[in-house]
């Protein structure tokens, strides 16, 4: 599967953040997006995942332009997105947050328990997002996006606010997945910057 970004432009208050950007990534490639804070990394990831509409340009999956109405399903089945901000549903437990996302399009065969164990958050499955630490929160978000088992993973600073051990857990998993999924990461973490990269 191939994800293509073609001639994307985005401006905020007449200031161009992204200008005529194009690139493509296969579902077994690893792409890093690096740059200073405020340079537009998150904006680009938001556009790639359909969370933000570009001023111009298109996103294609396997040469087919993604229509506006298809983005919801694509975020659950094709492009899993880990945003930088809080993204867990407060009223649900950690386990339910992960499960309900996976169940949305009937993907219930993913082994959530093993994943939670690997990320060392298997002891907080019954807790609500407000009851856990920021590091656990980040790992729970990561677990949720992995549970979707999508072809591409788009991750916005997945190791920020994490101690080195927790960050190491995420890096290990990403290393294992790098040949099986297309991974796009916006990060400042040198341990994650490898292979192909785009400098903004």
């Amino acid at each position: 599967m191939k994800l293509e970004v073609e001639n994307i432009n985005k401006a905020f208050r007449s200031s161009n953040i992204i200008s005529d950007m194009s690139f493509s990534i296969n579902d077994n490639e690893y792409l890093c997006i690096v740059g200073d804070s405020g340079c537009g990394k998150t904006t680009l990831l938001n556009i790639i995942t359909g969370m933000l509409k570009p001023d111009s340009g298109i996103i294609k999956i396997d040469d087919i332009r993604v229509a506006k109405r298809r983005w919801s399903k694509i975020r659950n089945t094709t492009i899993g997105y880990l945003p930088c901000g809080n993204s867990l549903i407060e009223s649900l437990t950690i386990y339910d947050n992960i499960k309900c996302a996976a169940k949305l399009y009937n993907k219930s065969d993913y082994d959530i328990s093993a994943l939670l164990k690997e990320l060392k958050i298997d002891g907080i499955t019954k807790a609500h997002p407000s009851e856990i630490s920021s590091g656990e929160y980040k790992r729970a978000c990561f677990a949720r996006v992995l549970s979707l088992d999508t072809n591409f993973l788009v991750l916005d600073e997945p190791t920020s606010n994490l101690d080195s051990n927790s960050a190491g857990l995420i890096i290990n998993i990403l290393n294992k997945l790098s040949s099986k999924k297309g991974i796009i990461i916006a990060t400042h973490d040198n341990r994650l910057i490898q292979g192909k990269s785009i400098h903004l």
Partner: protein, 393 residues
């Protein structure tokens, strides 16, 4: 469904507020509608069943008559029975009957209060005929016919003025004072009046006890009959009035209450709608992160809107039904007291009325909830998912 219940549980305060608004609104509108509907129907029933074109009562006692007929308040109305013979001679009269109203000194079979004993001649009493389900053409001196509120069946024995009466018949439910009345023969009334213990309450002339309370008349020309009686006996101690005219006063009073009630209901509705819109708009605005989070993992905006909608609808339906149940409980417990406040015994909503009003209020609260949620969700519907997460973070 799991998300819906989890959200409701998590947002207790918000949903308690929505519950209270819908509950209060439903209770107010439901109660007022039930009271007005049942009063209107009670009047219609009374109109149909009273039947008499003209009623003649002792002068100055019309308020007592009103209480006796409509409120079921026991009373003892007195006038000479000679009046029956005089009135019979008036023109156009087709039916005529008299009754003697005696307030029992102690109620032993119905309710906690005293009951209305009515002496009548069953064979002549054209008003009573439509209420009696059994074929009863005469009443012996120790027999009694009771209203539907009595806890008695045919064959039971009831004691009034120290006399044991055998129940010969039970009237249909009339929703008037007759439900709490018992009918006896004039012979039984005479026996009561002759008892030295009680005869101080009754009038005796040279021919013995000759007391009656009211004369009911049906006429082929009620206005003419009334005018003749009025002109002939203008200076005498009797009052003549049309039963329907008297009921019209009640109808007018209920009609004015209706206007006031409907205006109040509209005001309650507007206040509830504004409160719901405000709460739902604020609540939905505070849920931007939740919306953004759900969009992030693949929920569509429509799906999320439906989840929010069902949360509110569930609360709304629960609140509406709770209000109806609360009304029913309060109404059952305080029926008599409510009747006294509204100076009417005609408050007896039927199952059909309750069901119809409940259905109407469910539709109303559902519409209000849907409208408030649509307005609330419109605020965030146009925002991009990234904006929603960003604004809340």
């Amino acid at each position: 469904m799991k998300i819906i219940f989890a959200n409701i549980k998590y947002q207790k305060f918000r949903y308690t507020m929505i519950f209270m608004i819908i509950f209060t609104m439903t209770l107010c509108i439901f109660s007022s509608n039930m009271l007005i509907t049942s009063m209107t129907q009670g009047i219609a029933t009374a109109k149909n069943r009273l039947g008499a074109d003209i009623t003649i009562i002792p002068k100055g006692d019309d308020s007592v008559t009103e209480e006796t007929l409509f409120d079921g308040q026991p009373s003892t109305l007195k006038m000479d029975s000679d009046w029956l013979g005089k009135i019979k001679k008036m023109p156009y009269i087709t039916d005529i009957t008299s009754r003697l109203y005696i307030a029992s000194l102690s109620g032993q079979s119905c309710c906690d209060s005293s009951v209305q004993l009515i002496a009548t001649n069953i064979a002549e009493d054209f008003l009573l005929k439509s209420w009696i389900t059994d074929d009863i053409s005469e009443l012996a001196s120790k027999e009694i016919i009771v209203g539907s509120s009595f806890n008695a069946k045919i064959g039971d024995t009831l004691k009034y003025y120290n006399i044991d009466f055998t129940v010969k018949g039970v009237l249909e439910k009339t929703n008037t004072g007759y439900d709490k009345s018992a009918f006896i023969s004039y012979e039984a009334a005479d026996e009561i009046m002759q008892n030295p213990k009680y005869n101080q309450y009754f009038k005796r002339n040279e021919n013995g006890y000759n007391t009656i309370s009211m004369i009911f008349i049906n006429s082929s020309n009620p206005e003419a009959t009334r005018d003749v009686i009025r002109s002939k006996y203008y200076y005498d101690d009797i009052e003549i009035y049309s039963t329907n005219a008297k009921l019209s006063d009640y109808t007018m009073s209920v009609d004015s209450s209706k206007i006031f009630t409907y205006a109040l209901n509209i005001l309650i509705l507007i206040i509830s709608a504004l409160s719901l819109i405000t709460i739902n708009t604020l609540a939905t605005s505070n849920r931007k992160n939740e919306v953004g989070s759900m969009l992030n993992v693949g929920f569509s905006k429509f799906y999320i809107a439906m989840i929010f909608m069902f949360e509110s609808l569930l609360i709304s339906i629960m609140a509406s039904l709770s209000a109806v149940i609360t009304f029913e409980i309060l109404f059952t417990l305080f029926n008599t007291w409510i009747g006294e406040i509204f100076v009417s015994p005609m408050i007896n909503p039927s199952i059909n009325d309750i069901m119809a009003t409940t259905k109407l209020l469910l539709i109303l609260s559902t519409l209000l909830t849907v409208m408030s949620m649509v307005i609330a969700f419109a605020h965030i519907y146009k925002k991009s998912p990234s904006e929603l997460i960003k604004e809340a973070s």
